[in-house]
Symmetry: C2
Subunit: 405 residues, 2 copies
């Protein structure tokens, strides 16, 4: 398979982009779905922001370097990656905080309805933010399994909140169909794009989605804990109301009025002052993804994951694939269930193959096609076959749990 | 006065610290209360975090560089600056978001009471966050002027929310007395330390304060939009409950449970993933402030502001001082009312003296004693006298308003 991998790499139109990232020697990085790699442009950008803008121009940079518009500008660049208009997307806070804002916004629009419908096993923070509003007495959480969601949509459901691609299994929802079903039941829909944005084309407006949130530090390569983004369809802008009504979301922050007056559109999703260093780093990641193009990334991602399955089959490795076999039904990852998934993952990391573990029993391998080669995939299959065959994952050191798994 | 300034600088025990900051040539920076200057250690720290931790060690840095504990670690370093114990302070989100969490926490502890008492003209975001909860139907805003606050404390007041030092006037509350009065009325107290933390010693625990929030980008020199911090007195930790219950505030984030279980103490104030680059930059600023010491900073601050008043008087400048004359009753700033404050501020900036304007009519000069010299103060007085005398502030270009004032 190494020979075939070499041919595929030679023919890969994205091969050149690997050089746009800083990547350590001897590492095959299959965790770009958890923390995207460092774009080479980012350190220089940060150096400029820190030394010239902050150090040199100090407070003036809010105007001269246009820090004040950075959240809108970067949001506007994310928009085309997810099928939205520039003014419908803004960078702010974290995914969790944005979920709180948009669940609240949906509740405010849906008087008489307070059920937020989601699925058990959704990414925890999505559920926890519903539970936070539930404790405030404002929401009621309802969970239904994937195949029961449409039936669970009734007159009480204010909002359907789903993660487009499941963080653990990689299963992908049919965004158009679910959005339509929710709307038919009078519910609004909030899509969490954390495992989608920057990995594949998303068509929020074509699907008539109402709200979305997404993550800056995965496929957008924005750096550890990069700020998140939020989308609100234009048709909802006038009625958009959210309780984290901070001064940066005010129509005139520098009038210092006592009474809150919301800024237009998605700008009213801003709350406090944005962490400029982190937003600037995110902009570099977004620019690079936009340059490569999500269509091309997604095409290569499917080729990479398909090739891994072929290589594993060729090597006689039989693992329990949790992700859908059909690449159009999964995200940019392959997840395998194994009762010793944690140790297996650690044994691979010791060999320089970095995937991750998701409790209780999933080994997750993510494909960030901007910097992954087909040769890396063939090597991954070989390492995985060797680790399983030799039983080296059984070494005691591979079972010691770290704080972050 | 220049001669005297020279003597004071020669005798200044903090003089050496100016060299620990990157400061542009020819600038007198009197806006460290809005955006603190760049510590020289910060660019190198960011370079390490970006190139080695993110670029080199990638996802592993959550454990190997202990990114996961960064919010607690930096919070623990801020704690002694504000009279708190390490485990009572955590770095998270923005001041605004932390206000929302802690106002909510107070409401949850005070069943039957929903009034949040503050003053008109408090920093807008403090009021806007009350208003956000009011729109949710959970809080009721009550505003009382400074001298009427104690009388406004009745059985309905759940929380007294005040900014310790007023952003515009520099007036300082008597934290001990107000906290005591609130407690006697059965109310809890939340202090906004945005214009206090890192500028002067604060004694949260000695004053028996319940909650506090504070800003990372002013006197702590954490960089533009640096993350904020939150304090909760230990006695409230067990009952602490807040609605932004994100996964990083869960007792076991990596168990990926469907049900939220709060982490111990202030850790449950964490919501989403912290912006690591920005928190790392903040740590450098905090380390430097801690090294210099808030007692020494405050002593020099009072000397600086007193000296400016002397120099202005000597130069025959008569301006309407909004800040208290008694340095123990004000923060680390002097504010002057002038009907053309905006143009006056711009004219000073054109001469390299950077203060700021606060609508509608305040010229605000902040003292960050770690990098300000007495010579800068004498020069400031001279420039101010010349600008006023010559009328150069009347030039039309000085009246053109920028986006951020």
């Amino acid at each position: 398979m190494l020979e075939r991998a070499r041919e595929m790499d030679a023919a890969d139109p994205l091969a050149q982009y690997r050089d746009r990232f800083e990547l350590p020697e001897g590492v095959i990085y299959l965790d770009g779905n958890s923390l995207g790699a460092l774009p080479k442009a980012t350190p220089a950008r940060l150096e400029r922001v820190v030394r010239e803008e902050w150090g040199g121009d100090l407070i003036k940079s809010w105007n001269t370097a246009d820090w004040i518009s950075l959240p809108q500008r970067v949001g506007g660049k994310i928009a085309p990656l997810i099928g939205a208009e520039a003014h419908e997307v803004i960078v702010a806070d974290s995914v969790s905080v944005n979920l709180f804002k948009l669940i609240s916004a949906a509740l405010a629009m849906q008087s008489g309805r307070k059920v937020i419908l989601s699925e058990p096993g959704n990414f925890p923070t999505d559920l926890y933010m519903i539970q936070g509003l539930e404790k405030q007495g404002l929401a009621e959480q309802r969970l239904a399994d994937r195949d029961a969601i449409v039936d669970a949509l009734d007159d009480d459901v204010a909002l359907l909140l789903l993660t487009h691609v499941h963080y653990k299994t990689g299963q992908k929802y049919d965004m158009a169909a679910l959005t339509k079903a929710a709307h038919e039941a009078g519910a609004l829909v909030l899509w969490d794009l954390s495992h989608t944005g920057g990995a594949m084309p998303v068509a929020l407006n074509d699907c008539e989605a109402d709200f979305a949130v997404g993550c800056g530090y995965k496929y957008l390569n924005g750096g550890p804990g990069a700020p998140a983004y939020a989308f609100v369809a234009e048709r909802h802008h006038e009625r958009l109301e959210q309780p984290l009504s901070g001064w940066m979301g005010h129509a005139q922050p520098f009038a210092f009025d006592d009474a809150y007056q919301p800024a237009p559109g998605t700008q009213r999703l801003l709350c406090g002052t944005a962490p400029i260093l982190s937003v600037a780093a995110l902009e570099e990641g977004v620019d690079l993804v936009a340059e490569i193009g999500v269509d091309r990334l997604w095409e290569k991602s499917q080729a990479l994951s398909g090739f891994l399955l072929e290589c594993l089959s060729e090597a006689g490795v039989s693992l329990d694939l949790v992700s859908p076999n059909d690449p159009s039904k999964r995200g940019s990852q392959l997840s395998f269930r194994h009762e010793n998934a944690y140790a297996l993952c650690q044994a691979l990391i010791a060999r320089g193959v970095i995937g991750d573990f998701r409790a209780p029993d999933v080994l997750r391998l993510g494909f960030a096609p901007a910097y992954l080669r087909f040769g890396d995939i063939a090597e991954t299959a070989r390492h995985l076959a060797e680790v399983l065959e030799s039983g080296e994952w059984q070494r005691p050191e591979f079972s010691e749990r770290a704080a972050v798994t």
